[in-house]
């Protein structure tokens, strides 16, 4: 296919050609960024979490008398354990994705202050005995807490847990001691120290605090006797039972402690609530992308149809002097290919620029390079699909058209 005649004819229709190029460029730029953001959000919504999310129900109990926690918590756990279908129960200070963070800065050296730059902000989970089974924690190295660890750990005089053992997530172990085993090492918080006895698969934090998304797995577990800071009751059951278990557990705790407020939820719902903003963004962006691609495609159809209508006579002449239908078809296709090529080239630059702007102003990450050619190929395919109809109609123009005037 010769490109010369196509370019010559485009030069005659500079502005319509420019409009198509511009439309494809804009569509490509918006598409790349929108798909990138959809991907980022979708990845966030699907963040893995090494607990048995499908089988968990959580009941929060607020307003219980702190003085009586040591006797009421074992009683509550006993009652919850008796709910049919419940496999394990425990109580924690907070839960992954609950929105209620317990953030603390840890260091690896005793002489470092929590406010020093080298410290790592992470969430602390205080758990009652049996929480590893209730949550479904997966031990990777070392050991879980033993009964004596739970019995000797208290909340003490400050916000810090009074204990000397800790279990860290794999991710945090790698951040605190890169390339080394975390087992047996000590982590410090001001004047407190904790020795790592185990490493578990990555569990999510309650909030996006600390380093944000990159730090979402920075979590530490501590054993804890029944104390008033523990008020997230977690129950594990078969996934089919979880809705009923959540309801019954809420009723049970409300009945046992009429002065407090109990609120039951399945963990699946908690996750949905936590990511509701992200999933709404995904749907909005998907809708925008679909509408935009449709508008772009129809725009190409409209303009190409106009061209075809304008050039019926020329097409007729070409057909009369020997051009086949395939030639006409490929003429319009190549024309669209050239316009799309110019459009996506401009669009990729624009997409990159928009990404830079968003990075500067709106906490958006850098777009990986492959989104650019990806968007370009999508727009190019769209252009080819859109041009097929008008090009086909052009190919159907009979040679006799050449003899008609006007």
């Amino acid at each position: 296919m010769e490109i010369g005649p196509i370019l010559a004819s485009l030069r005659k229709h500079r502005i319509p050609a420019l409009l198509i190029v511009l439309e494809i460029a804009l569509a490509c730029a918006v598409l790349c960024n929108a798909v990138f953001m959809i991907g980022a959000r979708a990845g966030e919504i699907r963040l893995s979490d090494a607990i048995d999310e499908q089988g968990l129900s959580v009941v929060t109990l607020t307003g219980a008398d702190p003085e009586r926690a040591s006797s009421e918590i074992p009683r509550n756990l006993d009652a919850l354990r008796r709910i049919p279908g419940v496999q394990a129960v425990a109580v924690l200070n907070t839960m992954p994705l609950s929105g209620n963070g317990w953030n603390v800065n840890f260091t690896t050296r005793p002489d470092m202050k929590p406010t020093d730059k080298g410290s790592i902000n992470s969430n602390i989970y205080l758990m009652s005995e049996g929480a590893d089974r209730a949550l479904g924690l997966r031990l990777k190295q070392g050991r879980m807490f033993g009964s004596e660890d739970y019995a000797s750990s208290t909340m003490g005089a400050t916000f810090a847990p009074e204990t000397h053992v800790a279990i860290v997530s794999e991710r945090l172990a790698g951040r605190l001691w890169p390339g080394q085993s975390a087992l047996g090492r000590k982590m410090y918080m001001d004047k407190y120290w904790y020795q790592v006895v185990g490493v578990v698969a990555d569990v999510l934090r309650p909030t996006r605090a600390g380093a944000g998304l990159p730090g979402i797995y920075d979590t530490v577990f501590f054993p804890m006797q029944p104390t008033d800071v523990l008020n997230y009751y977690v129950l594990r059951s078969a996934p089919a039972d979880r809705d009923r278990v959540a309801r019954q557990a809420e009723d049970t705790l409300a009945r046992l402690d009429p002065g407090a407020v109990a609120e039951g939820k399945t963990f699946v719902d908690m996750r949905g609530d936590f990511f509701s903003g992200a999933s709404s963004m995904v749907w909005m962006l998907v809708l925008v992308c679909v509408v935009m691609l449709a508008v772009t495609a129809f725009g190409i159809v409209g303009l190409t149809s106009f061209w075809v209508a304008q050039r019926r006579r020329q097409i007729g002449i070409r057909r009369a002097v020997g051009a086949r239908r395939g030639h006409i078809l490929s003429y319009f296709r190549t024309e669209n290919f050239l316009l799309s090529a110019a459009g996506v080239a401009l669009g990729m630059v624009l997409a990159f620029g928009i990404n830079l702007y968003l990075m500067q102003h709106y906490e958006v990450d850098r777009m990986p390079w492959y989104y650019l050619p990806g968007g370009a190929i999508a727009l190019w395919l769209l252009g080819q699909a859109a041009v097929y109809g008008p090009a086909h109609r052009a190919a159907m123009v009979p040679p006799v058209e050449a003899t008609r005037s006007g």
Binding site: I15, P16, L19, I20, L22, E23, L26, A27, A29, V30, N33, A34, M37, T62, G63, K113, P114, T115, M155, G156, A157, T158, F159, A160, M189, D190, K191, Y192, A254, P258, G259, A260, V261, S276, G277, S280, M281, W283, M284, L285, L287, V288, V291, M292, V295, T296, F298, G299, G302, L303, S305, F306, W307, Q310, L358, H361, Y362, E363, V364, G406
Partner: protein, 438 residues
Amino acid sequence: MFSYYLQLALRSLKRSPGLTVLMVLAIGFGVAASMTTYSVFRAVSGDPIPWKSSKLFVPQIDMWGPKGRSDNGEPPDAMDYADAMALQRAHRAKLQSAMYQVSPSVVPTGAGKHPINVSGHAVYSEFFPMVDAPFRYGSGWGDDADRQRAAVVVISSKLNEKLFGGANSVGRSVSIEGKDYRVVGVLDDWNPQPRFYDVVNTGGFSSGNEDVFLPFERAIDVGMPNDGNTNCSEIPAESGFVGLQHSSCVWLAYMVELDDAAAVSAYRQYLDGYARDQQQAGRFGWAPNNRLRSLPDWLDSEKVVPSDTKVSLLVALGLLIVCLVNTAGLLLAKFLRRSSEIGVRRALGAQRTAIYAQFLTEAGIIGLAGGVLGLLLTGVGVASVSWVLPKDIASLARLDAPLLVLTLLVATAATLLAGLYPTFRASRVQPAWQLKSN
């Protein structure tokens, strides 16, 4: 003349219904997407108290020093107990209040009723006039109640509905955390968004209600714990709520009303003087690094508008631009197809301005039709943000008269803009050339 152009335009649009529908759809969708996201954006970036926001200020004191500052040197965005109390005692602003979030349990009267958790704030008496809280019954408490740590409470109309069936409950008592409080005021429906007086704890937007307001020092006295965020630069030496009060942890919100520029600069001087005094006393080992932001600046610096909302608005604007470029292209195609018609009109004596008027009328009709479609779609969009967006934000987005007018205006103006070049090309058609070729 205009009605003639209107007729011509309608006839021309009817001649190529496919193209017309295409343009109307493009404009409609583009405008609807922009307007829907704009309605959300408008809701979250709005001024919650426009008549007064320039007089409300939030002081920040650098009690942590260089180590505790954020990367750009900002002091903490909340206050510790000692400094908040010092500011409250000095009483240098016209109105001021320290406050913190509480979540006490309230027991409804009547046998067998379960206690409910309510949220609210512990505030000083000047809080109510400062934020212009509207009262249905009664009023806030006086500053004598502040000093006496009186057991009084201001409740929301919702809680009043729940506890007293909506009757005037001033003078009746409510059991809060097991103690009786006398109701002195019932608020009208009041749910400012963003929750400007305590942005740090509510994140700006909160679907929860503010049900109770208690005297600050009373709440401290009875040990009603802080239900909001607490940030510490070091571990408090003592435990519990009292330990928190003795620590340098920040957990209090603070707001002052300053009526003119002189008052603002006087208060600024007071803050710096206070920090210097602390420096001399040896409590601060650094020079004063205070902030005194007006409410709009404060909301901005706390990034109250979710960045997702802004990005959505940008994406929707991108879509609108794509739609406009598309419409420009289609209008161009449509107008140039009628070159011979234009040639005839010009040859018969029509001015270029007449051609302009004719084709811009046509573009305007498309814009208006697109606007009407956009309006319908915006209605659907705004109605459906409630199941797509978080409830606290979605409930703020609504379709009102200004948005209706704006939708039509944007659609028409944008289409006219898109029609400018095609019309220009149409008016340049050479009559002689067109006539000859026919």
